[in-house]
Structure formats: C-alpha cells, structure tokens
C-alpha cells in the first residue's frame, strides 16, 4: 500500500491507503461519519481531494480497496477489466479523468467504448471531485439503452416504474393503483410490486395478477414482483409468468451474503430468465436495486466509504445485463444520508457512476419521515436527474408508499417533469397510451372522462 499526502495551508495530511483516501475525499454524509471514515475537517477533505486528483488511475488496479482473495466482487472487477478499453485513459490521474469526461470532444461513443475499461473505484474517485452540474453533464453524455417489451434509455425519454404496493397485497387494491398509474402515463419501465410478504404462493398470485392485467389490456411493458431471487427462481421452474427477475445487490461479497445471494446465484437466475425468452424486442431481463449505506448496515463495508461501495454494486449489476438498475437513494434513513442535501448529491453521484460503468440507471427519488427532507427536495433531485438523462424513476400514487412507509415520486411528479423538460415515455408504451386515448392532441397525459375510455380500462374502474 502506498501512502498519499497533500499539504494545505502549511498542514500536511497523510492518507495511508486508497480506501482511506477515497473516504476522506468524499463530500460529507452521515453514513461515513457513522462508519468513522469521514474526514475530520473540511480542510482534511479538500486535502484528500487534492491527493486523490493526483492519484494515477492505474493505482486502482494495483491496490484493490478490498483484497482480491477476500471478496468475489473485487475478483469480478479485476478479472473482467478490459485493458484495451482502458488504454486511452491508462496514463491519466483521477483529476485528469474528470477533465477528460467533461471535455467537448468526449462524446457518447467515446464513453460507451471506455465503460468496460473503467472500474467502480475509478469512477467513484472521479465523482468525489465533481460538483452537481458536472455529475449531470457527464451522465447526460452517456447512453445505456435496454429492451424487453419497451425500449428504455433513449434520448429525451423518461421511464417510470409503476409501484402499486399495498400493505396486505390485496389484489383489488393493487389493481386500483395500477389503473391510476396507467391513466397517468406510468408503467413503461415496469409495473413492479414490493410484496408485503414474499412467500412463494403470494408472489405467484401477484405475478399472475400483473400478467393478466398486462395481457388483457395489451400493454407493452414488463411486470415484476420484487421477491427474493430464490423465490423467483423457484417460481420460474414452476412455469409462473416471470418477466423480470429482481434482487437487491451490494458492493461487497459479505453484504451480498447478508442479502442471501452471491454471484453464482445471480448467474443462475439470469440464465433461467434468459431461458424463458419472454421479452418481445430484447433480452434484458434483470432488475437490481442498490443504495448507499447497505454494506455498512450489514456490517460488511471493510473500511470503504459508502459511495465507493455503491459504485462496486454497479459492477455486479453490469455483469448480468439488466433492464433496470435503480438506487433507492433516501430509503435507508438519516444515519446514512441525513438530509435532502445529502440525498440529492448521492442520487446524482450514483446515476453518474452507473452510467459511466454502462449500467441502465434509474433512481427511486425518496426519503423517510425521520430524515431531514421533504417533497421540495424530491422535486429538486427528480428534475436534476431528468435533466441528466436518468433512464427511469418511480411512480407511486400520491408519492406515499402505503406498504413501505416512505415517500417517493408520484405519477403526477413524473408527468410534471416530462412536461417541463419535454421528455416522453418509452416509444412502445407511448403508442399504447395514444391508442387508449390517454394522450391529448398536445401529447399530454390527459385521460378522458371514464365513460369515454376503451372498454377494458373502463371495466377495471367498475
């Protein structure tokens, strides 16, 4: 391990290894303080950022932040690193990479070619030096397009996961929320339920419910019940209609073990989903969720800061060519991200890191009631992410998730953002909305009086 140092106003700050350097350079957030990893002063933080800016990218290949022998995520990162793709930036420092990413000549094609050559630690280090506008500018240059029954990630499009959760998984209550979302133009990314209980029987009945609605209304979208991957695997083997396979993932082997998964299990699930081949226009069939702080929460952070570990989770995600990956940025609580300010920065960091690594990033723009945040903070993050080209966000009735007990973005919030920034739903889903008469002549979502809706939709309202 190589110590790195910087001198600021006559004080010399020394950082014994890369993990410490990355942690001290991280913009302030409560989770790193909780872990005892944060900089002790604002000056130490800037000194760490100066030392980080001078660190060669190649150092991240030579000094893994978690040992190769101890962690299969480290092994995945290093074993799949593409040296040829890395070559154009191989001689750069972290600071030089930041300027390269922002330079006029660095475009979508450059970044797509570069993605397999970047490791999570490189991009995590780089975003620690960036301001919010830079996180947006760089992410907006990246394009990660995925397909199943809709095409997600296209320019000027903003997808929505319709999230119709119910505290006791009541089928009629869920169907009512699905209808509400469809009439408000949501559901092109997926219609995805977090089940209150993830027993196989319950999960199967919800999968049948969603598949039935989708087929009856001929909606071009994909459904998902966010049960544990082992539950979903078992149901696929029984012939239950599974479109997307969901799993929460994290950036260390030990944190994934706390989720009850490892890379081999994810590979088995991805193979099973590929075998079903239910996508009509593409084969991206995995849906992953992540969030800063999950490794610390599981006591599995190895002294690495939460933003770097989050970026490592995207290395896990990209291995399995997912349709959707979203960071559930404010869900975990104020001990990891204390305020609207910390949540907003983390959401933009995660989106930028994911896109640089070639992951189809979305974001659950959200907060809990014990965090210092409110809907104004969510409006800010949603608008910034949409301007930065986020692939999808959540749509929850009235922004209030009555099962999980937190606030996300509403169907209305997404409509307002689409209108404000001139963004549209996925093309296949937009054509369906037009066919149902849900879009008006200005292509705004303005559903007609219920009596004038097509019969299948009208029947759901009865």
């Amino acid at each position: 391990m190589t110590a790195r140092a910087a001198t600021l106003a006559g004080t010399r700050y020394v950082f014994p290894d890369l993990a410490t350097l990355l942690a001290r350079a991280t913009p302030p957030r409560s989770g790193d303080v909780l872990a005892g990893l944060a900089a002790g002063s604002a000056r130490e933080r800037v000194a760490a950022q100066m030392a980080l800016a001078d660190t060669p990218l190649a150092a991240f290949l030579e000094e893994p932040v978690i040992a190769y022998e101890a962690d299969e995520v480290t092994r995945l990162i290093l074993d799949t690193h593409d040296r040829a793709a890395f070559a154009p930036v191989a001689a750069m420092t972290v600071g030089a990479l930041r300027e390269f990413l922002l330079a006029d000549g660095t475009d979508e094609a450059t970044l797509a070619a570069l993605a397999p050559g970047l490791t999570p630690e490189m991009v995590a280090g780089c975003v620690k030096l960036m301001r919010l506008s830079e996180l947006m500018t760089v992410a907006a240059k990246c394009r990660v397009v995925t397909r199943f029954r809709t095409t997600l990630g296209l320019p000027r499009r903003l997808g929505v996961r319709l999230q119709p959760n119910h505290p006791s998984d009541d089928p009629k209550g869920i169907a009512a929320a699905v209808l509400d979302g469809l009439l408000l133009g949501a559901g092109d990314a997926t219609i995805g339920i977090n089940p209150a209980s993830d027993s196989p029987a319950r999960t199967a009945s919800l999968l049948h419910l969603l598949d039935d609605i989708r087929q009856r209304l001929a909606i071009p979208t994909q459904s998902c019940v966010l049960a544990h991957v082992t539950t979903t695997l078992g149901l696929m083997n029984q012939g239950v209609p599974v479109d997307l396979v969901f799993q929460s993932i994290a950036g260390t082997e030990a944190a994934n073990a706390a989720f009850g998964i490892d890379l081999a299990l994810l590979a088995e699930a991805a193979d099973a989903a590929a075998g079903l081949a239910r996508g009509s226009i593409g084969d991206n069939a995995m849906y992953f969720e992540t969030g800063q702080g999950s490794a610390l929460s599981a006591g599995a952070h190895h002294g690495v800061d939460q933003q770097t570990l989050e970026a490592r989770a995207y290395a896990v995600a990209r291995r399995f060519r997912p349709l959707l990956v979203n960071t559930v940025v404010g869900f975990i609580g104020p001990e990891y991200l204390a305020s609207g300010k910390e949540i907003i920065r983390a959401g933009l960091e995660d989106h930028c890191c994911g896109k640089l690594l070639g992951v189809p990033m979305g974001c659950d723009v959200c907060y809990t009631n014990h965090a210092d945040a409110d809907q104004d903070d969510m409006d800010a993050l949603l608008t910034l992410l949409a301007a930065a080209g986020v692939n999808f966000v959540m749509g929850v009735p009235g922004a209030d998730d009555v099962m999980l007990g937190y606030q996300s973005t509403s169907f209305h919030d997404v409509l307002a953002t689409r209108e404000l920034l001139g963004l549209r739903p996925a093309p296949e889903f937009e054509a369906w909305l037009e066919g149902q008469g849900i879009l008006d002549q200005a292509r705004r979502v303005r559903p007609p009086e219920p009596a004038r809706l097509p019969a299948p939709l009208r029947r759901l309202l009865a």
């Binding site: 409560s30 303080v33 909780l34 119709p164 959760n165 119910h166 505290p167 009541d170 009629k172 209550g173 869920i174 169907a175 009512a176 929320a177 209808l179 509400d180 609580g333 104020p334 001990e335 204390a338 809990t368 009631n369 014990h370 409110d374 809907q375 009735p397 009235g398 922004a399 209030d400 009555v402 007990g405 937190y406 606030q407 509403s410 209305h412 409509l415 307002a416 209108e419 705004r444 979502v445 009086e449 219920p450 309202l461």
Partner: protein, 242 residues
C-alpha cells in the same frame, strides 16, 4: 380540474389506503390534496420529534409493577437519529441503576421510544393484557428507555440478568400511520445479538394489530420461545401458526 360528480374512484378507494384518483390541475395536485399530504407529513415528522413522556408512562405502569427509567448513550434526538450505535448502548448512570436491581429473571419488558415516542402510549394496555398470560415467568422490573434502538434491550437484559427480553418500541412513522408500536422478542439476549435472533410483531396500532390481539400473539411466541429455547428465524413457522 374538478373530479366528476360521480367519482369512479370512490369504490376503488375501499380496497386501498393508497392516494389514488387524486384531483389535479394540469400535472399538479389540486390544492386540497397537496395540503392533505403536507398535513400527513407534518404529523409523521412531529411523531419522530416527540419526547417520551416517561413520567406518564411510569405512572401508567406502576400499578402493575416496579418501573426503572434508563437512557441510551445518545444524548439527544439529533444524535439518536444519526448514531444507531449509541442508541444500542446504555449510558453509565443507567448501567449502574440496572446493576442495583440485578436478579434471577426469566423476562424483562422494555418500553422504548424508538422513532415514534407517542406510540408507547399503547404499551400499558398491551402489557396489562400480556401479564395475565405470563404465569410462571419471573419478571424483572419494567424498564422505560429513552433514545433507544431495539438492541438496547440486549444491554438491559444483560445488566439485569434476564433470560429473555421483549422490547416494545415506537416504529418508523409512515404518512398513513404515524404512531405504531413494534415488539421484538429475543431469547438469551446479549450485546451483539443479531436481528436474525429476534421475532418481531410490527404494526401494533388500532388499524393494524390492536394491543389486545398483539398481547395474545406475543404470549404465544414467548411460550414457544421458552419451550424451544430459541428465538428468531428458527421460531418463524410456529409464530405464524399462532
């Protein structure tokens, strides 16, 4: 845009507490729906910031047994919210107070503020219903705990010498239900007991599991815990059969 005279959503609302079919103007919510959401958020925020009325709670519990007050090492609410590790440890004075009452106990009942201190108002009724079902258990004094996380119960049980702990704690408030109590049971608790070693009954409130019904479930779980000599994942199936 006003909702039509015959609101087609009215019948669907019977099936879900979700905010469906909200009136809007353009893409935005109508003013009434906007302010109702704010009112619910304010209520949930206030629930987090409430201070536990330990004196009132102790007075309500006193007829049923001795009551000890303790505090975690989190000195105030702001510290509590950011430092879960401190909320799991006793402060020095509390440690000493409990040590003075150390004895041979099968169970200690802990009433903790958690993230919703007002939710503890439901605890005395629950405990009254529970005590009638705990014949044969040697009970430690009740412990009322401030700025407490669930795992503070492990430290309390260790200090008192209790073989099991039941922590009744205010849960993360939601917009629909801002005051809800959770119960966490741990057999042979010790500092470092993991969540996988606990059984949990959540959503104890009038619209979820009411206190009397919760007491019945908890008594069943405690009996099974004692009979099997374990708590947590291994006890799950029996718990659900009760």
């Amino acid at each position: 845009m006003k909702p039509p005279a015959t609101d087609p959503w009215a019948s669907l609302r019977a099936h879900t507490p979700a905010r469906i079919g909200l009136a809007r103007s353009g893409s935005a919510l109508a003013t009434k729906a906007l302010l109702e959401f704010r009112a619910d958020h304010a209520r949930a925020r206030d629930a987090v910031g409430d201070v536990l009325d330990a004196a009132a709670l102790a007075a309500a519990l006193a007829p049923m047994g001795e009551v000890l007050g303790v505090a975690s090492a989190a000195v105030d609410r702001a510290t509590y919210l950011r430092r879960p590790d401190l909320g799991r440890r006793l402060d020095a004075a509390s440690e000493a107070r409990l040590a003075a009452h150390r004895g041979e106990y099968d169970l200690v009942l802990v009433i903790a503020d958690g993230l919703s201190p007002s939710a503890t108002r439901a605890a005395p009724a629950l405990i009254a219903a529970l005590l009638g079902r705990l014949g044969g258990w040697r009970l430690a004094p009740f412990v009322v705990a401030r700025q407490a996380r669930v795992a503070l119960g492990d430290a309390i049980a260790a200090a008192l010498g209790a073989g099991a702990v039941a922590v009744l704690i205010g849960e993360r408030p939601g917009l629909s239900v801002p005051v809800s109590l959770g119960a966490y049971l741990t057999w042979r608790p010790r500092p470092g007991s993991t969540d996988a070693e606990r059984n949990c009954l959540s959503n104890i409130h009038a619209l979820g599991t009411p206190p009397a019904a919760a007491a019945q479930r908890l008594a069943g779980l405690l009996a099974a815990m004692r009979q099997r000599g374990l708590s947590g994942v291994g006890l799950k199936d029996e718990g659900e059969l009760l």
